[in-house]
């Protein structure tokens, strides 16, 4: 920590800020890695279980097995809306209570519920990633500010001492450059993590869209009035 002790107050504050950015960025990276890994893994398992099962109520009873899958959340939302429509169909149910009307907005209700669940899951998955983007874009500039300030201070000291030898100039500049180095150390993993998670989240969104379409198709085929 010798390099830290030798810097001025402003450079110290810059370094503390950058270390804070780095710590929080890595915390988010670890958190998101775990979250996205679990979401993908459990979604695969849920889809496998979904296509093997014949009945929605059987699937609904087993949703506790997939707590981190966005698809299970979507299914739960869609199935709950479907049950509501079937229970409160009233006048729309003419012959068979298990049949829902596509004219009265039944399918649209389920579609809206699925869209709402999709939006909610995307928001959950993208939570905190904006901090990574902010760190990636601002940390190098904050570090550069620390460096510029440090070099300004170093040159001021050189001017006061009246000596411009390398032994006098180099340590001040080296201390100042540490701010840029720490800024880059904070920014590089943040940018890499942000891009990685954006890519993974895009895949999960595509999975949710596909599942939503499939769910609506199944509902239309099985419960829709002709």
């Amino acid at each position: 920590m010798v390099f830290f002790a030798g810097t001025g107050l402003v450079v110290k504050l810059v370094l503390i800020l950058l270390i804070y950015f780095s710590v929080v960025s890595w915390a988010i990276i670890f958190y998101k890695l775990l979250q996205v890994y679990r979401a993908n893994k459990e979604s695969e398992r849920f889809l496998e279980f979904f296509w093997k099962s014949k009945r929605f109520d059987t699937i609904s009873s087993q949703l506790d097995r997939f707590p981190n899958s966005p698809l299970s959340i979507m299914f739960n939302e869609g199935y709950t809306e479907l049950k509501k429509l079937m229970e409160t169909g009233g006048e729309q149910q003419i012959d068979d209570p298990s049949v829902i009307s596509t004219e009265g907005g039944g399918i649209d209700n389920i579609s809206r519920a699925l869209r709402r669940a999709t939006t909610s899951e995307i928001t959950r998955l993208e939570k905190y990633t904006t901090f990574l983007a902010t760190t990636g874009s601002t940390a190098p500039f904050i570090g550069l500010f620390g460096t510029v300030w440090g070099i300004m201070t170093a040159f001021k000291g050189i001017g006061e001492s009246g000596s411009a030898s390398l032994a006098v100039v180099a340590p001040g500049i080296a201390e100042a450059l540490i701010a840029t180095a720490i800024g880059l150390v904070a920014a590089i993993p943040a940018v890499m993590g942000y891009n990685h998670f954006q890519n993974k989240i895009r895949v999960v969104i595509a999975q949710m869209d596909n599942f939503s379409t499939e769910f609506l198709n199944i509902v239309q085929r099985s419960f829709g009035r002709k």
């Binding site: 780095s22 710590v23 949703l63």
Partner: protein, 264 residues
């Protein structure tokens, strides 16, 4: 049951961001401690500007085997400042030389402005030579007087002129620089290393009689061969350590690198 409750019912609590913050903090601490132990942020030892000890003049040695002039401290080379040349007196004005160049046949009546009316060119040249001889004699006398004075001072203080019993004003009178020179000489004989950038920082304590009382390695890059080379260099050099000025115990730090030895 609201939608949020239903979602919470399905979703079991996972490790929150707080746990990950603790993990990240631990990760950073491990990184910084590893960096410190691996010396990624190594700070080179601040070294003093190097003072090169140069033996300007070595006085004649009575016995070459003895290696030092009589009366001097053993092993201590004696430094004597070479006297600065005395400015030559200007023997004559430029116009005084003109008659010499233009030779005798010229009319000499116009030439000597100062030498009197009847001075011939031969007389003028004789006077010029006398002036030059007397100036040279004065210069030699002054130089000899200075050397005599220095020798007298040395004898009075019981130490060699310049190093290390000097007053501190002569060239090379820095005791630490003298030790550095001796260490550098010895180190050139023992140097060996295997690491990429070996470095050993030591502290030597020398008592009032010039004996090495303490040798401590304060910092090392971990190269055992280099450490051994430094240790052997110190053992070789300590034979030539003279008593410190004032007879007081002194302690100095030195940094050994393959490039040489620096004072700290």
């Amino acid at each position: 049951m609201t939608r949020r409750r239903r979602q919470q019912k399905i979703r079991q609590p996972t490790n929150g961001l707080g746990g990950m913050l603790a993990l990240s903090l631990a990760f950073h601490l491990v990184f910084f401690f590893s960096a410190a132990s691996l010396e990624l942020f190594r700070q080179d030892f601040p070294v003093a500007p190097q003072a090169i000890f140069v033996d300007m003049v070595t006085l004649p040695v009575a016995s070459p085997q003895a290696g030092a002039p009589s009366g001097a401290v053993k092993g201590a080379p004696v430094s004597v400042r070479v006297p600065a040349p005395i400015p030559q007196p200007r023997p004559a004005a430029p116009q005084m030389r003109q008659p010499k160049v233009k030779a005798a046949p010229m009319k000499s009546a116009k030439v000597p402005p100062k030498g009197g009316g009847g001075e011939t060119p031969q007389e003028y040249e004789a006077r010029l030579e006398a002036l030059e001889r007397s100036a040279e004699a004065r210069r030699q006398e002054t130089a000899l007087a200075e050397i005599r004075q220095r020798i007298a001072t040395r004898n009075r203080e019981g130490a060699a002129a310049g190093m290390p019993g000097g007053t501190g004003t002569q060239a090379g009178s820095d005791y630490a620089a003298y030790l550095q020179s001796r260490l550098k000489e010895s180190f050139s004989l023992t140097i060996a290393w295997q690491a990429k950038k070996p470095l050993v920082a030591i502290r030597l304590t020398i008592d009032g009689k010039g004996a090495l009382t303490s040798y401590k390695i304060e910092k090392s890059s971990g190269d055992v061969i280099f450490e051994d080379a430094v240790s052997r260099a110190v053992q070789l050099a300590k034979k030539h350590f003279p008593p410190p000025p004032g007879g007081k115990e002194l302690s100095y730090g030195f940094v050994f690198r393959p490039e040489g030895v620096d004072k700290r």
